[in-house]
């Protein structure tokens, strides 16, 4: 496995696009389950009612990786965490278009061996074409 080759081949390649309709009830339930008390997120009648900052992290693209991406390790992954950037408010009824690409590939070596980190990035824009969120999901593959 050559990380430089993987990066050269895969970084920045868009491999999926999906759409998601945002529902008020899910926005409310998400915020309340997280213990949110700010009315912007818990009161659907608030004039600035919007989705909680990490809300888009719940959406999954149809594919985790491109269909022809090489298998690393045993193919099973560990969730290494998520980074959510909020670029604009997400309102109920919005239809979000999301594109998926591989934003980064790097490796780290620790006590449990060598791990490859693959950063799956989803960029979201609303029905007016305004960017609203970017979610980076770090997937970890143990390659020995």
């Amino acid at each position: 496995m050559n990380i430089a080759e993987l990066r050269e081949t895969w970084l920045g390649r868009q491999f999926d696009r999906a759409e998601f309709e945002v529902e008020a009830k899910e926005m409310l339930d998400w915020a309340e389950a997280c213990g949110e008390t700010d009315a912007r997120f818990t009161d659907s009648t608030h004039p600035d009612f919007q989705a909680h900052p990490g809300f888009t992290a719940k959406y999954a693209s149809r594919r985790t990786l491109p269909t022809d991406f090489p298998q690393l390790g045993d193919g099973r992954g560990v969730d290494g965490g998520k980074c959510v950037e909020s670029l604009g408010p997400i309102r109920p009824g919005d239809v979000l278009g999301a594109t998926s690409l591989i934003a980064d590939i790097y490796e780290k070596t620790g006590r449990s061996g060598t791990m490859v980190f693959i950063v799956h990035r989803m960029r979201y824009e609303n029905q007016r074409g305004e960017p609203v969120s970017v979610v980076d999901w770090r997937m970890i593959r143990n390659v020995g």
């Binding site: 997280c34 700010d38 719940k58 959510v84 950037e85």
Partner: protein, 135 residues
Amino acid sequence: MVTKFEDVELGDDLPEESPDVSLVRVTKFAVAAHMLWGRFTDHEFARKEGFAGAIVPGIMSQGLLAAMIHRWAPGCRILKIDTVFRTPMLADSHPVCKGAVTDTDEANRTVEIDLTIVTDKGETSVVGTAVVQLA
């Protein structure tokens, strides 16, 4: 409580919180997040998968930290929140959310906050950072 950028000093600690991660609350989150998997909603099922019990979804732990930030600085805007899930956090446990201001940017009126969630066994389950814009 913080109402504007000038209220914040580098090194300030956010008030610690003990969030509700009861199985009922986690299940509510799992429904909203379309993550209705046994490992999140059923202790027995999770044990069969090798966990000590049902676990809190990683993205819910991120939401717990965001809620803590909103209570610390009402009306603030979380521009970015980045969390790493280190060890599973169990549903029906008693974790503690913590935060500390590690950087300030006067020009953009933003602060950076280091975030952690510590389990009732003293393990750091989640670490992260947030960039928050204040009035």
